[in-house]
């Protein structure tokens, strides 16, 4: 079945936090499509035998990581007020997901505007500032990541643009940029442990993506929001 082109595209910034951070990207996608139907959002659909609502996801956080800066774009069959769409979706989304902003899209590809992420990792361990310094001084920090096709080794240092332990070491802030394998918060921690074996990180610390956008003048400029700078 051939469908007409969309009448409008809307970009949404959403939060994923609390227990909802344990949802995978696929889990969220299913929940989001159902929320769109409950909210009666006039979605545009793909052509073909089994039409799907046209949604573009980009750079989703790993399962278990919270986010205050997730982005997606939806295509609509008829134009609506983005604010109304936002309000209706927030009424029906599962607990832990919340649309924070909605604007009409300018036409560019979403992923191109989302090159850098600022992460906050709740730690509170001794020796963090020292480990961070060693990490930043290194040219190469090799870590291993378990993937679907087995264990991969890669240089985590390559995509870490900035790294800083907050005073008191309660929070580690990291900025990651583009690369072949983009570092995740867990990779950054693995990298710190690799350069500083004495570092004892208990369990799996809570990590949150705080901002996502472009890297300008030493800051991550969030695509929608005010930039959140390092330090």
């Amino acid at each position: 079945m051939q469908q007409p082109p969309p009448a409008q595209r809307i970009r949404l910034r959403y939060f994923k936090q609390g227990p909802a951070r344990f949802a995978s990207q696929q889990d969220f996608a299913r929940a989001f499509e159902r929320a769109l139907r409950r909210a009666h959002t006039p979605m545009a659909y793909s052509s073909g035998f089994s039409p799907h609502p046209r949604i573009s996801y980009s750079n989703s956080v790993p399962t278990g990581v919270a986010s205050r800066a997730e982005y997606l774009e939806i295509a609509l069959a008829r134009p609506i007020d983005p604010e109304l769409a936002r309000a209706e979706l927030n009424r029906v989304l599962p607990r832990g997901f919340q649309i924070m902003a909605a604007v009409e899209a300018d036409g560019g590809a979403l992923a191109e505007s989302l090159t850098h992420s600022l992460w906050g990792i709740e730690l509170g361990v001794a020796g963090l500032a020292e480990a961070t310094a060693v990490f930043l001084a290194a040219d190469e920090v090799i870590v291993r990541r378990m993937g679907k096709s087995g264990v991969r080794e890669f240089n985590v240092r390559e995509t870490v643009v900035a790294l800083e332990a907050e005073s008191g070491a309660a929070l580690l802030r990291a900025v990651t940029g583009p690369g072949k394998i983009v570092a995740r918060p867990s990779d950054v921690l693995a990298g710190l442990c690799a350069v500083s074996p004495a570092l004892a990180i208990p369990g799996v610390p809570l990590a949150t993506r705080l901002a996502q956008g472009s890297w300008v003048d030493g800051q991550v400029h969030d695509l929608f929001g005010p930039s959140e700078s390092l330090g």
């Binding site: 139907r37 009666h40 006039p42 008829r78």
Partner: protein, 660 residues
């Protein structure tokens, strides 16, 4: 979020699919625990992904949480108020269970993450025997003593329902009470009785628990296994099952819900965040089946047939979709094409939803042209990919034995019609190991499949037609005509199925158009032991669980050897319980549980089976005295209602229907 979640959260980051444990899904109910007087933890003894879509759980969850099925409920059943609540719990995968044991965290409820131990009732949904080890695993993780006799006033009542409990004897020692049949009215009445008991006696006073169980048993609401003594003959058969205290009925009858239009559940089912085995909104269009397939326990224990009317079904579909945002609707029952108004239901729903992104499905396997008409209606704009039929037996003789009243010529005509109308694949369900079955009966499945492909190629005028044969091992079930039958041993089932596969593969003309799917016979032997077992089998289940066995319904977790070893250690002869034919006079472990069937009629049906005599459906051929209606004081409730779908209410604020 209460108590355990803070302890649990760090562990969730370390396990597979953590989202399944967090609760808080759309339409889940987090209610005031302390304000309620009777609190149920509804437990499905399998993983969340299997248990959450279970229709029985969904119905009782809404009912116990007072979800209104308006407008009917206000004037209808005594729907719960604040005094009653239900939360859910499921069996936890080994990775998290191990971490919980290490950290001293007990089995929790999905809503408030409170220990299951804190609830008044653990309501167990037992739909398959292979969940029994998970029952023990979860009781243990909950800190509830495994055996009923070891529990105290501080423990919840463990009450089970579901299809497997029509013979609860293998798990009798682990259950406090058992509810037979439809649960809707039963859970409300049991809740009322518990509330009254708590008000009058409190739950903490010594002896209170036994008095409450006494009230449950005397009222006939539930079967309390501890109040019955089983005596055995020297040869191992049962001599008698008798009540051991006054006031307890000699036989316990199943519950039958009437007027299903008055009980519109579920209407706001939980929408899982995790992926589950069924992702659809399901409406039960009728309950019960009187087709009389002799192998089918569901058809025997759910009589009589009770339909929902077309208007109720239409309203439930519309409300269910609005409340969930799901895109698929299943019109469920044991044989959905048999609803008296199924043509109107499918036609009018197709009119309403064709062109939207809602798809309708009718899981019917009836072998006739009418069934294809229905499938055509439901796929008006879609692709006609595959149709499923269930002849169950490979030869006409075999089908007469099992009372599956369809001839080979019927089947061929049906598939011809399907292929000529654009369908390109048929799936055929069969069983292996049926009573009186020979090797030739199973090899006959191949001949049937060859004819299907030959007829299909002709009708479709194309070589691009396919047939999938799916073979399940037959397990004799309690309360069926085959309850006395000898189960075929695993070697026989495996040998016949392999011979069938070889025959299909060797055929140069048709072999490559046919796929044979089958399961090994060994799990069927365990299912057979648990289906027709008695209380002595409980020791085997406990041994298996203690030896590390659980999630037995999952191939990667099932170990046949572990079951064999556990049976040996318990002094249980697997063959005696499975491949031994029973005589008419033998006391069966479930004879004191009354599903309404007249035992003499059932025996005669077993005799007729071996003679190859068929019996037609009482809905159109007249009553044949199976006994259910007079015994239980009920009657078949079917249409036609001669009504049409009610108009849809106006859609939500942001626009009209969610069309393309």
């Amino acid at each position: 979020m209460a108590a355990l979640f803070a302890q649990l959260e760090p562990l969730l980051a370390q396990v597979q699919k953590p989202v399944q444990y967090v609760g808080g899904e759309v339409n889940s109910q987090l209610r005031d625990f302390d304000a309620a007087e009777v609190r149920w933890a509804l437990f499905f003894p399998d993983a969340y992904e299997v248990g959450q879509p279970n229709q029985g759980m969904a119905i009782l969850y809404e009912l116990l949480n007072g979800c209104s099925s308006a407008p009917v409920s206000a004037a209808g059943p005594d729907v719960a108020d604040d005094w009653l609540l239900a939360e859910r719990t499921f069996t936890i995968w080994p990775d998290l269970a191990e971490l919980m044991r290490e950290n001293g965290i007990l089995q929790f409820s999905w809503e408030s993450h409170r220990p299951v131990r804190d609830f008044d009732v653990l309501g167990v949904s037992l739909s398959t025997e292979l969940g029994y080890t998970n029952l023990l695993e979860t009781l243990d993780l909950a800190g509830i003593p495994l055996r009923s006799e070891s529990r105290t006033e501080a423990d919840p009542l463990v009450i089970a329902g579901g299809h497997a409990v029509f013979n609860p004897e293998p798990v009798a020692d682990f259950l406090d009470a058992v509810v037979l049949g439809d649960g809707e009215e039963a859970v409300l009445r049991i809740s009322g009785l518990i509330r009254d008991h708590k008000r009058e006696c409190g739950m903490a006073t010594p002896g209170s628990r036994e008095r409450l169980l006494g009230r449950l048993a005397e009222s006939g609401l539930a079967y309390v296994p501890a109040f019955y003594d089983v005596c055995y003959l020297p040869d191992g058969r049962i001599e008698s099952v008798r009540p051991n205290r006054p006031g307890v009925p000699g036989r316990v009858a199943k519950h039958v819900l009437l007027e299903l239009d008055q009980w519109r559940y579920p209407v706001r089912p939980i929408v899982p965040l995790a992926e589950t085995v069924h992702e659809r909104y399901s409406v039960e269009i009728f309950r019960g089946c009187t087709r009389g397939c002799r192998f089918c326990q569901a058809g025997m224990v759910t009589r009589p047939v009770r339909e929902r009317g077309i208007q109720t079904i239409g309203t439930m579909v519309a409300d269910g979709l609005a409340a969930t945002g799901l895109a698929e609707v299943g019109l469920l029952s044991l044989s959905s094409a048999d609803h008296t108004e199924i043509a109107e239901i499918t036609g009018q729903l197709a009119d309403r939803y064709t062109g939207t992104n809602v798809s309708l499905s009718l899981p019917s396997t009836r072998v006739d042209a009418f069934n294809i008409d229905l499938a055509n209606e439901l796929s008006r704009n879609g692709r006609r990919s595959g149709l499923t039929f269930a002849p169950e037996g490979g030869t006409d003789r075999m089908r007469r034995v099992i009372n599956k009243m369809v001839s080979e010529d019927d089947l061929i005509r049906t598939v011809e019609a399907a292929f000529s109308q654009g369908w390109r694949q048929v799936k055929l369900y069969f069983m292996c190991g049926l009573p009186t079955e020979t090797d030739e009966d199973v090899l006959g499945i191949a001949d049937l499949a060859f004819r299907v492909i030959e007829a299909g190629r002709r009708a479709a005028n194309s070589r691009d037609v396919r047939c999938t044969i799916s073979i399940g091992g037959f397990v004799p079930k309690p309360h069926t005509s085959f309850q006395w039958a000898a189960q075929a041993d695993a070697e026989t089932v495996n040998r016949r199925v392999r011979a069938l596969k070889d025959k299909v593969r060797a055929d140069r003309r048709f072999g490559r158009a046919i796929t044979v799917r089958y399961a090994e016979g060994e799990p069927g032997m365990v299912e057979g032991l648990l289906s027709r077992g008695d209380r002595r089998v409980g020791k085997v289940i406990e041994n298996v669980w203690r030896g590390g066995g659980h999630f037995d319904g999952w191939r990667e977790h099932f170990s046949y050897q572990r079951w064999l070893d556990a049976a040996t250690a318990a002094g249980i002869d697997l063959d005696w319980y499975t491949i031994r034919e029973r005589t008419q006079g033998e006391v069966l472990p479930w004879d004191h549980l009354d599903v309404g069937l007249d035992r003499a009629w059932l025996w005669q049906d077993w005799v007729d089976a071996r003679d190859g005599s068929e019996v037609d459906d009482c809905r159109w051929a007249g009553c044949y005295d199976c006994g259910v209606c007079p015994d239980l004081g009920v009657a078949t409730q079917i249409g036609p209602t001669k009504r049409a779908l009610l108009p849809l209410a106006v859609a939500g604020p942001a626009g009209a229907a969610n069309g393309v």
